[in-house]
Amino acid sequence: MKDFYVTIGLEVHCQLLTQAKMFCRCSTDYIGKEPNTLICPVCTGLPGALPVLNRRVLELAIRTALALRCEILPQVVFHRKNYFYPDLPKGYQISQYDFPIGVRGIVEFVSGGSKKRVRIKRVHVEEDAGKLIHEGPSLPWNSSGVDFNRCGIPLVEIVTEPDLRSPEEARDYLIMLRSIVRYIGASDGNMEEGSLRCDANVSVSRDVETLGTKVEVKNMNSFRSVFRALQYEIDRQKALLEKELPILQETRHWDETRDITVAARGKEEAEDYRYFPDPDLLPFSIEPKDLEEIAKTIPELPLERKERFMVEYELPEGEAGVLVQEKEVADFFEECLKEFHKPRMLCNWMLTEVLKNLNELEINITESKISPSNLAELLKLVDKREISGTIAKGILEEMFKTGGRVKEIIARKGISFITNERELEKIVRETIEKNPQSVADYLSGKEKALHFLIGQVMKVTRGQADPELAKNLLLKELNSGE
């Protein structure tokens, strides 16, 4: 069987994190709001209303383009993209056309263990549309409604060149892109809530020289669905090629429940959007001075940071990668390091215990009640073997729930330190005496019995013993014995 060559390009829309919409002063905080409560004459396209650009949009878009290593075009021009749809109240979308904010960028990311790069074709800004509602308490039977709350929220569109070769690469690029836009505070990149949306162009060819027929896949609402949709679509196209059946150039929707892509209904002819410069918004130029100011606001980006962590803190690539994915987590890590200087140990705790607690509470690290100092304080005790790891985990959990400092929790919970070897030796000896069967099992070669004995020691000490110490003492006692 001959080889297949897969080519994927992604178009990502991110909602920009502005307080006000793109061309009016309505709030962008629309999640969970009653329909049509965040609207005004401008964002609902009432006769006579005019758009005025929210300058913050431009700032965040430029920041995004710079972070994606784009060239910034000196002129800002808005175009109208004309088409009819009920969620588009003006009959056109204010977007950008031949003068996007940035062009020719590059994103580097790691996929399948090696470093990949994808070229960014363009980064431009445009306004979001409203949302059609097909069911709801206020809707008459057999009718649909439009909620304009989302209408006019600023979006940045990031278009790649067709440089991606597999669903894995597409997913990993997307994860990196999300990480970047979150790092720079441009977007919260939440796919489930729709603040990051992804469309893909996929083609499969049997010939490395020529591209196959391009199929657009839409409606993918999570990293997982991007991966699965692309995988499905590639398999579908391969199957068609193998049967020598034609692949139609079309738009297909990912059907999450059925796990397939479905051809979108509607007209097949290419739509003519009749782009022209919006006469309501005059073109203007970006001052080099402003550009410099914006460039200064871009922090160290995830990939650079990962590489620094690997060198500076001698962290393995995998761990460093996870640690830097969220800027706040990496910041927390570095903050904590100032007081607790063991990066490997801290990294382990961050990636297991801290992330586990965050996931359970469904919060991010900045929302948590624990500070880097708190964690440092706790880990110092563990490191000095003043408390056991098990105890520390319990304390950490408590800290996440109630806040408070390590010492306070220890006092409140009545946890006493059992670090006194002699005290523990006594408990170890008692345990051996009480469990002759296990001792016999161990001595006859059953390793498992040792774990049972350790467990008994921990039980007696209500988990306050250092299990490592308990184990050593047990071994010492057992091997010296009878």
């Binding site: 005019l50 005025v52 004309n82 022209f276």
Partner: protein
């Protein structure tokens, strides 16, 4: 108390004098105009809607809180508003069936300014649908008639506002000028109409026809009032990005008469071609004669791209209109004609909601923006626009102001040009180039031929309305023509 007929030459200053002296109250003044409308508007149809109750109430409130000392510039003065400018809680139909039921939920920036200046909005005036037309015959609610000759059109698209002024139904009015829609009806009705520099008056709340050309214009019976109104309307607005960051116009910008008499005035030869009615040319030449006598030098200049300005306009304006009018889709407000599918609903709504001329221009504009035609039409139209602008820049190198006819023809008969859009378009041939260039211009009456008024246009450099007003005041004084006063009452019985 007197009656409006004896106020024919009153300015705001005169009304304010009487109000101050207590000869009549604001409420009485408003009632005089409302009664006049009641008596004569059946013949003219200048108004699409009146706000009688509220305006009387507001008049009483104003009178009760009459300020001590100097009055706000438009205090107690009724004003008629073209029906494409949003006034909160009033209908804003744009002369279209599409918006027959649309009540504006907000005030245009100019409305806020008018209200703050004490003006009283008496009603909304008739217009060509979405301001597309030169005769007000394209209104979905029936045409307006020229008060000076009821068989004739008042011009357009601000025909309702011009006619209301001419018929003394209002002392002030707002119009909008995209290619001449303030100046041409002002000329046809013998009143004053200013098209400001593009960007001098906020467009926020003016229903867009062609965004890069639309400007709200001040209309009045006397130049003096036009100045006062323009002072109130002008100035930057952070709700309109195309509004220039300039302070409001001040009459202090008007040079004194001695300075006016020392300027050079340009006479663009293309505006006096064979296509212009000879009586109009003659009347305007008399003005040149008067000006020369006062020491003003009148020199011939050339604006070579005058003719193609009209053609470029009919690409650029419809192109923008095709996009601006896309919002009338039956979804959120205005007319909706149901259909079985979304496409059908759109199609029925727009088929039923728009009139012929609007459809013609939407199709024209859609075509001009289509891929493959964009460069050939829209882009070329924009290039011509640059050439037209350069024509004016060139001309203004040698002269301070330009003097031209407003229209090549007299007010035509109703129905005379409705079947021939190109003839209709030609009515704007002298107002379009300056609109394309974004420069200011005023239309003032400079005489009559029989009973039909002749409009004189003064064009100036961008943001130099002061010079235009200066010359307009001088010409008005030199000509000392009476303001129009059509005798309409006597005919009321027979016509209704």
């Amino acid at each position: 108390m007197g009656d409006l007929v004896s106020f024919r030459d009153f300015t705001i200053k005169d009304y304010h004098g009487r109000l101050q002296k207590g000869e009549f109250s604001v409420e009485e003044l408003v009632k005089m105009f409302l009664e006049r409308i009641e008596r004569v508007d059946g013949l003219i149809h200048a108004f699409l809607s009146l706000d009688s109750e509220r305006v009387e109430k507001r008049a009483r409130e104003l009178q009760e809180k009459k300020p001590q000392g100097e009055l706000p510039p438009l205090w107690g003065i009724p004003i008629a508003i073209k029906d494409n400018i949003c006034v909160k809680d009033l209908p804003t139909t744009c002369g279209s069936k599409m918006l027959h039921n649309f009540i504006a939920p907000y005030d245009a920036t100019v409305m806020e300014r008018l209200k703050a200046a004490g003006a009283l909005i008496i009603g909304k005036t008739n217009m060509d649908e979405f301001a597309m037309g030169s005769s007000t015959e394209n209104s979905a609610f029936g045409p307006t008639r020229n008060p000076l000759d009821l068989a004739r059109v008042p011009g357009g698209s601000s025909g309702g506002s011009a006619a209301a002024l001419s018929a003394l139904e209002a002392p002030l009015a707002l119009g909008s000028d995209t290619g001449g829609s303030v100046r041409q009806p002002a000329a046809f009705c013998g009143v004053v109409g200013l098209r400001p520099t593009y960007g001098r008056v906020s467009r926020y709340g003016l229903v867009s026809f062609a965004s890069s050309l639309d400007q709200i214009g001040s209309m009045s019976r006397k130049v003096e009032d036009c100045i006062t109104l323009f002072e109130v309307l002008s100035g930057s607005d952070d709700r309109d990005s195309t509004c220039a960051p300039y302070p409001p116009f001040s009459r202090r910008e008007i040079p004194p008469e001695e300075e006016i008499t020392r300027i050079k005035v340009g006479i663009p030869k293309e505006y006096f071609s064979s296509g212009v009615d000879r009586s109009i040319v003659k009347s305007i030449e008399e003005v040149f004669h008067l000006l020369r006598k006062r020491g003003i030098e009148c020199v011939e200049v050339s604006l070579p791209h005058t003719e193609c300005a009209l053609e470029a306009y009919y690409i650029v304006a419809p192109a923008e209109a095709s996009s601006n009018l896309a919002r009338y889709d039956g979804v959120f407000y205005g007319l909706r004609s149901e259909g079985d599918t979304l496409q059908e609903m759109y199609s029925h709504t727009r088929t039923n909601g728009f009139g012929r001329e609007v459809k013609r221009r939407i199709i024209l504009g859609t075509y001009a923006l289509s891929s493959g035609y964009y460069d050939e039409y829209y882009l070329k139209g924009m290039k011509v626009r640059t050439l037209v602008r350069k024509d004016f820049e060139e001309a203004f190198q040698t002269c301070q102001l330009l003097l031209t006819p407003v229209s090549p023809c007299f007010p035509f008969l109703l129905g005379e040009r409705t079947m021939d859009p190109y003839q209709m378009y030609l009515a704007d041939v002298f107002t379009i180039p300056s609109a394309m260039a974004g420069i200011p211009g005023i239309s003032i009456n400079c005489g009559y031929h029989d009973h039909l008024p002749i409009g004189l246009q003064i064009l100036g450099k961008p943001f130099e309305e002061g010079w235009i007003f200066g010359l307009a005041l001088l010409i008005e004084k030199l000509l000392s023509l009476p303001s129009p006063l059509p005798h309409l009452e006597s005919r009321k019985g027979s016509e209704q």
